[in-house]
């Protein structure tokens, strides 16, 4: 097995709820990420899928050190980030970059493209004005835009081009790992294909590791080596893309896959329709958090939290049907 770049252990993030009640301290919290463990290997793409609100973006922000965990450990190349000094944290931040979902909101409209791409270099005091400019042109070309775009402003670019600019910005500091949070969800099909091809090329060229968050299961299957399925703040199943798509084990993974729309007009799909909405992360159900919607729920699913069990080399599942 290759080198572990990121290791996450029993990671939790509970956001306290600020109720506007005087003299009463808030005791409730949103359990956005609630005990997650996994590893990310060098050069791979790990996908994270799951319903809206299950904690995918929160996990990304925890790994990127944008927020601090309530509990648990994030390790980067074997170093526990919680024990490092601010100087070391800064240098590790360079190695972990992010690309966000909305290419329209994440770039400042008043700044030139050159400024935006050079900004991370300036923040980390890398090079002088001249060498930064050279680097910007180089980065623009790497993401398939011409160097002359450097002088222009964001509003002159389409959604796909803006996402390329975001990617150029993320590449500026030569990161080891890029966390892509729904990078293509706002783009339409043909632009989406362009951006995905770019991400794959860059991965090969610069030996990048990706964490790829998306709710499009076909995109994830196509781009990822391994996939983690999240439900209500927890990982319920993880495995290679073949294992998960050919042989899903967790009832939630099965429902999720069955909900992918048809492949063609003649496709007859058997749907597992889940009843109800995702339960509240403030009061997650006891036992298995999926039991209220699970077609296979048994008595002990309502009381006991299922352990994460190995089903072979790479596939793991948290479900009483397999323990």
């Amino acid at each position: 097995m290759s080198e572990v770049v990121i290791k996450v252990e029993n990671l939790k993030k509970h956001f306290p709820i600020n109720e506007a009640v005087p003299f009463k301290k808030s005791t409730q919290s949103v359990k956005a990420v609630d005990g997650v463990s996994f590893e990310v290997y060098k050069g791979e793409t790990l996908g994270i899928v799951g319903e809206s609100g299950c904690g995918k973006s929160t996990m990304a922000r925890l790994i990127n050190q944008l927020i601090r965990p309530t509990e648990g450990v994030v390790e980067f190349k074997g170093k526990n980030l919680a024990t490092l000094g601010s100087k070391e944290i800064r240098s590790i931040r360079k190695s972990i970059q992010m690309v966000f979902q909305n290419p329209y909101a994440s770039l400042d409209p008043r700044k030139t493209i050159e400024y935006l791409i050079a900004e991370p270099l300036a923040i980390h005091h890398i090079g002088d004005a001249k060498s930064r400019k050279k680097r910007v042109i180089e980065l623009l070309e790497v993401v398939g835009l011409s160097g002359y775009h450097a002088e222009r402003y964001v509003h002159e670019f389409s959604g796909g081009q803006r996402q390329r600019i975001n990617i150029a910005r993320a590449l500026a500091l030569n990161p080891d790992i890029i966390i892509c949070d729904e990078p293509v969800s706002a783009l339409d099909v043909s632009v989406q294909a362009q951006v995905i091809n770019l991400l794959k090329d860059l991965q090969r060229k610069f030996d990048l590791t990706y964490i790829f968050i998306s709710h499009d299961l076909n995109v994830v299957r196509y781009i990822c080596d391994r996939i983690a399925v999240m439900y209500l703040g927890k990982i319920v199943e993880i495995g290679t893309y073949e294992e998960l798509y050919e042989n899903p084990k967790h009832p939630y993974t099965k429902a999720l896959l069955s909900a992918i729309p048809k492949e063609n007009p003649f496709d007859k799909k058997e749907r597992i329709l889940l009843e109800g909405d995702v339960p509240s992360p403030v009061n997650p159900p006891p036992g298995c958090s999926f039991h209220k919607r699970c077609p296979h729920a048994m008595e002990h699913c309502k009381k006991d939290v299922p352990a994460f069990v190995d089903l072979g080399e790479t596939q793991k599942v948290a479900c009483h049907l397999y323990s």
Binding site: E51, S52, S190, R221, I260, P265, F266
Partner: protein, 337 residues
Amino acid sequence: MSDVILKVENLDVHFRSSASIVKAVNGVNITLKKKETLGIVGESGSGKSVTATALMRLLPKGIGSIPNGKITFNGKDILSLSDKEMRDVRGNEIAMIFQDPMTSLNPVFTVGDQIEEAVRTHQQMSKKEAKKKAIEMLKVVGIPEPEKRVKMYPHEFSGGMRQRVMIAIALSCNPKLLIADEPTTALDVTVQAQILELMKSLQEKNDTSIIMITHDLGVVWEMCDKVIVMYAGNTVESGTVETIYENPLHPYTWGLLESQITKNTLNGDKLPAIPGSPPDLRNPIPGCNFADRCPYAKEICSTTKPQPIEVELGHIVSCHFQTNSNRLERKERVYIE
């Protein structure tokens, strides 16, 4: 034919934008029968939402105009109705679900208030009856504990629930035509599956016709009988879903179908993608709108507009080389950047 509910002929829509005119929609034709579902697909900015907005006569006043075209709905000439007559049609006979469920619900009123208001603007009903109807509609769209939920505000609902509220409002008056603009794009696949099932069952019950705007071809295969493919304001191809899937003819449709990732797309292969981006609709385009991105384009494509041709029954294509006497040979792997 009496069961044609909507007929759109040669619809053009223009926008005034600073010094220029944006020709957002050019010559769109639609024929929709009772209980039929039509899908509109195409690249972002191709005119899908604008077409729907024009059908509802909700184009921004003084900016958007319909210089050409005819819209016949349920025997009525939509473009000649007075504003008041049009208001009656909207909501009563045609309902629309908009692209963004959050912006189309009012945050300061409860969900119940908003459904009641929609019901009461269009039907004679006491407040009490409207309240009962609101609860009933929430139940129909599968919202648990509707008696409690009517008293809640939009921000207390999840994205999927808000979209179901929009559907409840749209369906509360049993419209003959429902226009749904990307109704599930913002939602998870599991919620999407629930909502599509819901729309199908309500259509079955009330004989509703549906126009479904989406860029997810999976949703089209799932829901639609026919589909029109739009590119830069034009319909480039239209036909039944079976035809468009099995025998697509327009090079843009080929690119669109190929760049869609499905479960048959091999992990790791390079994805087909149409290089470049769509043309600026402020400038006049003398030829085919797709010419500068089309791998099959020849000289005539940038000088002359292709005309729509019915190449087989109900299958219409606009391409110089896809006619009754001429066929393009589809090449493999031409959509690689």
